[in-house]
């Protein structure tokens, strides 16, 4: 770059990905785990921004046990530049606040100014963590983004729907964006990249090296019991294309919905 060229500081994008149980209806703690499918959407978005020259680097961040490094290797196969795994004996069972405080500190650690994630995780599904991270960082949050477009060096236009229909908003970095599935189709990593990612080293960081605050909180919600609910076993009636419509009408009539 020549000396008189304007220096554009391109941001680092942090993609917050989650290591989750992958089996449907996962109640087995020892079942297979991997990258949360929703995490692929912000990964794809971030990689597109880098390809378009909008971002200097994409760093995938996860918190979890050492085995969660596998999930970050999957992010490497997608094409991220770097990874960071926050792993610590003090982390298992983290609630919304602890998760948000740790991830916010990790975003700081990699000096990212745009943090992106899925709108809710497959296993926790509170949908609260993205805005809690934004609260810790003091950044705005735009949740449930379908697509986001960089319009200027640090200005992003976001299309999202929080229940009132589609809306467009403009925000300047730093910002937290949470993405929904649908508009952005994640790539499928090619075998070569998958194989290469297996050798990738995943940097680990423990809590004592992370500038996270507020982790001493002790008042947590706790599970006092879980009960299996046995749904009443139904034996459905079956109909086909010919008798189906009348069978439905009969039900609607029985329930007083049509005369």
């Amino acid at each position: 770059m020549s000396a008189d060229e304007e220096v554009v500081v391109r941001p680092t994008l942090a993609v917050l990905v989650k290591d989750v149980p992958l089996a449907d209806d996962a109640t087995d703690a020892n079942g297979p785990r991997g990258l949360d499918p929703i995490s692929e959407v912000p990964l794809e978005w971030a990689l597109r921004q880098r390809a378009a020259g909008r971002a200097a680097a994409v760093v995938a961040i996860a918190m979890g046990p050492p085995a969660a490094a596998e999930t970050l290797r999957r992010a490497v196969a997608f094409g991220v530049d770097d990874t960071l795994l926050v792993s610590d004996p003090g982390l298992p069972g983290s609630d919304v606040r602890r998760t948000a405080r740790v991830l916010a500190a990790a975003v700081d650690q990699v000096a990212a100014t745009v943090a992106v994630c899925g709108y809710e995780s497959r296993d926790g599904s509170s949908g609260v963590v993205p805005s809690a991270i934004a609260a810790v960082l003091g950044w705005p949050v735009l949740s449930r983004a379908a697509e986001a477009t960089w319009t200027d060096d640090d200005v992003i236009e976001v299309e999202r729907d929080v229940g009132s229909g589609p809306r467009r908003e403009r925000v300047a970095a730093p910002v937290v964006l949470s993405f929904v599935e649908g508009r952005i189709d994640p790539r499928y990593p090619v075998l070569r990249d998958v194989l290469r990612s297996r050798r990738a080293s995943v940097p680990e960081i423990a809590l004592d090296r992370l500038a996270a605050r507020g982790l001493e909180t002790t008042r947590h919600e706790r599970v006092v019991r879980t009960e299996r609910i046995e749904p009443p076993r139904k034996e459905p009636a079956y109909a086909g294309p010919d008798d189906g419509p009348d069978a439905i009408l009969e039900i609607l009539a029985e329930q007083g919905i049509v005369a």
Binding site: D24, D25, T27, D95, R97, A100, Y119, S125, S126, G127, V128, S131, A132, A135, P140, V141, R144, A146, R160, D161, V162, G163, S164, R167, R168, E169, R170, V171, A172, G182, R183, G214, T217, R219, E221, R222, V223, V224, R225, T226, R228, I229, P231, K234, P236, A237, Y238, G240, P241, G244, P245, A247, I248, L249, I251, L252, Q255, I257, V258, A259
Partner: protein, 298 residues
């Protein structure tokens, strides 16, 4: 001792629509603001509502995205635990006990939190009245602060939870990817209208942009409990079932009788969703044009 229970919403009806999670008679404070628009920055709403909350208040919100966003901000600012998808909330000792169902309704989790501030995201119970008495009401104002976000376009009107036809509808016509494409939606919307019901959708349909999020039935979207739930081309993942398991009669129209939703259905119509919906509309048309039934559906 855990402090007063405060429900935060956009108006009194919106706020009180979540009261059914409390035992009858539990005194509840309602705090609302008409300034709380859809998509408002949680920091802006949070800063405005904080002064109206007590120090050890239990803050109860609905389960929409704006509620979730505010919950995240408040949990950090108040250093309060968050409990989400709560089906019922009661006081136990000095703290709270909350029930929620997980794994598509197959597991009930009972959680407790000790005395102090807490944030509860309540599942709106469809058709539920106000079980608790809203004996105190306060308002808050947001002012012009937009939290560094400029709204370029889009409605700021949040579908009022008490007015969302979906949550209280007697009939829900719900569509999944099996209907083929967004060009088929008019047919199903028309069927819903004809039955005096509402149009619901699976998450895939909403994520694909065929319908706005307000139509989504499921763990993330709206919980419905209609008399009749008509599902067209919905395979019925556990997340979807979590939002419709309160339905009295479930009809699944699907070409695949092994789809998960067919296992909780009362009637499975193994057929093409569009063909069955068209046939239903035809029959309803004929019914309504019969002279002795004229006007039945006006």
């Amino acid at each position: 001792m855990t402090g007063p229970i405060t429900v935060v919403g956009r108006d009194v009806a919106d706020a009180t629509s979540v009261l059914a999670v409390f035992p009858t008679g539990e005194p509840v404070r309602v705090v609302w603001s008409a300034d709380w628009k859809a998509g408002s920055q949680p920091a802006v709403v949070g800063r405005a509502v904080l002064p109206v909350l007590g120090d050890d208040s239990v803050v109860v919100l609905g389960s929409g995205q704006d509620d979730r966003d505010l919950a995240g901000w408040l949990s950090i600012r108040l250093d309060a635990p968050v409990i989400w998808a709560a089906d019922s909330v009661r006081r136990v000792g000095d703290g709270l006990e909350v029930d929620r169902t997980t794994h598509g309704g197959r597991v009930r989790v009972v959680q407790q939190v000790d005395a102090g501030p807490a944030i509860v995201l309540a599942k709106p119970a469809a058709g539920a009245g106000t079980a608790a008495s809203a004996d105190r009401v306060a308002t808050f104002e947001l002012g012009d602060d937009t939290g560094d976000v400029e709204v370029l376009s889009g409605s700021e009107d949040t579908p009022d939870r008490d007015d969302v036809p979906l949550a209280r509808a007697d009939v829900v016509v719900s569509v999944g990817r099996g209907i083929g494409g967004p060009e088929r939606l008019d047919l199903f919307a028309g069927l819903a209208r004809r039955l005096g019901g509402a149009l619901g959708a699976s998450r895939v349909v909403v994520d694909s942009g065929w319908l706005p999020f307000a139509h989504q039935v499921g763990q993330t979207g709206t919980s419905v409990a209609p008399t009749v739930y008509l599902a067209f081309g919905i395979s019925g993942a556990v997340q979807h079932q979590a939002g419709m398991r309160g339905s009295q009669v479930v009809v699944a129209v699907n070409t695949d009788r092994d789809a998960p939703l067919c296992q909780v259905a009362d009637l499975v119509v193994e057929a093409d969703a569009v063909a069955v919906a068209s046939a239903l509309v035809d029959r309803l048309d004929r019914l309504s044009t019969e002279p002795d039934r004229a006007g039945s559906y006006s």
